[in-house]
Amino acid sequence: MLRRLPPSATHLLAALAGLVLLVLLTFLTDPFTNLRIATVGYYLIAVAGLALLTGFNGQISLGHGAFMFIGAYTVALLVLRVPALPIWVDLLLAAVAGGLAGLLAGAAAARLRGPYLAGATLALAVGLPAVTQRFPDLLAGSNGLSFTVNSQPAALSAVPATRWQAWIVWLAVLLALVVLANLARGRLGRTLRAVRDDEVAASLAGIHVGRTKILAFLVSSACGGLAGGLQAFLLGTAAPGSFTPALSLSLLAALVLGGLGSLWGALWGAIALVYVQVWTDDLAELFSLRSNLSDNLPLALYGVVLIVIVLAFPAGIQGGLHKVWTRVRRPAPSHRGEQ
């Protein structure tokens, strides 16, 4: 029956189902786990944005943490300076701020490719958090801003804070994912892939290559801004130390692990991003590892993941699942479905 519906309606229904599942899940889990579920949510939207840029459009970004930085500080500043605004406006503006920054970055990046683009975006990730030192009065230097979001509606006052926050995060994330899925499925998605596969052919087919690349950057960094805004909302802080180049690289690692070419891959990647951290913490406690080891274990794992996946499993988790799924559904000829 779902097949008859237009894809946008399918995406919306899937998102609704996802939200219902999630709300049910948060009733079963403790506050600590709820916080982790919410964390998976904001990483998911950041990685999904990166999937659109790097996976669909072939532009590599090593600076996506910078857009999360912008989103987080937007929410922090709005909560502190304009407390009257409702949180959903703050989050929307975080996405807008990230998108605007991405528009600038994309305009600069449209002429770059491969190692040149990677270098420029890495410079963004290294350079931007230092801006907080430049404006210590506004951005509070390296300590960062901390604040409390008092936006829990009275009707929900009986619900524990972490559960309620997880709902907000996932509501925003699923809405953004519906938009992304529609874009990826529709005309823009085809254009992005055409530019990725062959720029010359794409421009001969009447596609404006530069504009497409900038648009990919805009959408993708708006997702990054939203992710950063959600992180700030959840943690009540925005500090430069959380937006190191290592964050940008681990977002990329999550994307590559999940599978470059699909939004589902972003989900597996985001789960891995959160649970690699959780498992290494557990492991460290279990074997009482020295902090030298346990602090660096997640980064080492992300690095190993990047290397192993590229060398041995280029399609990532989603690619593997897809292969299994098509084999189950259609045993005979190999079939490459829509990604």
């Binding site: 270098g119 963004l124 350079g127 230092a130 681990s250 030298n292 274990l297 990047l306």
Partner: protein, 283 residues
């Protein structure tokens, strides 16, 4: 006026370091069309080895020698184990693998030597304007760069290295051992990178100490066109002096963003770098 002079001189010595690290990127890019994002991590590991050796033996120069040798071996190992299997994969694959290596090596450094900074000594006295250590940095880099250029231009090894990078198929037909040449290229580059690390790391070593330096070195290499060693040396010195002005006149926290601005401005005007040829990027 004296501030201006001081900034210029300070920029010259840091620029020499960017030029050296940039040179190591260029040597690799010429040979294998890969930008080695793990280069700062290779230099970092050799820096930490130098730190340990110097600490246990008390000899700076023994540590220095260990760093260069270890760097070379690391470069060779990376080419053989990670880059060679990617010969026919896309540009993105090589970038991602070297980034993965960067994360692994930084994490390993943190595991062994901890994330806390340790004191790391200069080769010579560093006090005052253009101190002995600055002079050493500039001379060491100029000497190394000259050595590399002479090697490429005037020796038979250099000819084979260039042939293997320029046209592997023809070179192989003419009896050049292309695989060996690529490995030598990576080893040579990593040695130069380790030298740059030894000069850039003081006064403190920590796993992320070379992140910013790498961005500046990359800016220098891109300015040079990624396949032009001489252009990279000039680019490195120009970036060093330019960033020194930014640091002194506007504030040190803006230096990485200024590097980004230089990178974007140059590439917007000349997408293949100031000294790059138009074909450089297509390969």
């Amino acid at each position: 006026m004296t501030t201006f002079l001081n900034l210029t001189v300070a920029g010259l010595s840091s620029g020499a370091v960017y030029a050296a690290l940039g040179l190591s990127l260029v040597i690799i890019y010429r040979a294998t069309r890969v930008v080695n994002f793990a280069q700062p991590a290779l230099a970092l590991i050799s820096g930490y080895l130098a730190y340990s050796v110097t600490k246990s033996t008390g000899s700076y120069w023994l540590g220095f020698a260990v760093a260069i040798v270890a760097g070379t071996l690391l470069g060779v190992a990376v080419e053989r184990l990670l880059i060679r299997p990617l010969r026919n994969a896309g540009e993105l694959s090589a970038i991602i693998v070297t980034l993965g290596l960067l994360l692994v090596l930084q994490a390993v450094a943190g595991m062994i030597w901890s994330n806390e900074p340790h004191a790391f000594s200069y080769a010579f006295d560093f006090r005052g304007r253009f101190a002995a250590s600055d002079l050493f940095a500039v001379l060491a880099v100029i000497g190394t760069a000259a050595g590399v250029l002479l090697l490429f231009k005037f020796t038979s090894l250099g000819l084979r290295l260039r042939a293997a990078a320029f046209n592997p198929e023809v070179a192989r037909l003419l009896g050049v051992r292309v695989g060996l040449m690529l490995t030598i290229g990576w080893g040579l580059a990593a040695a130069v990178g380790s030298l740059a690390g030894m000069l850039a790391i003081p006064p403190f070593i920590s796993p992320t100490v070379l992140d910013e330096v790498f961005v500046y070195a990359l800016t220098a290499a891109v300015l040079g066109g990624l396949d032009n060693p001489l252009g990279t040396i000039v680019g490195g010195l120009a970036v060093g002096i330019g960033l020194s002005y930014v640091s002194g006149l506007l504030g040190p926290e803006l230096v990485p963003l200024a590097a980004l601005a230089i990178l974007v401005a140059v590439l917007a005007i000349r997408p293949t770098g100031l000294f790059g040829r138009a074909t450089a990027r297509r390969a």
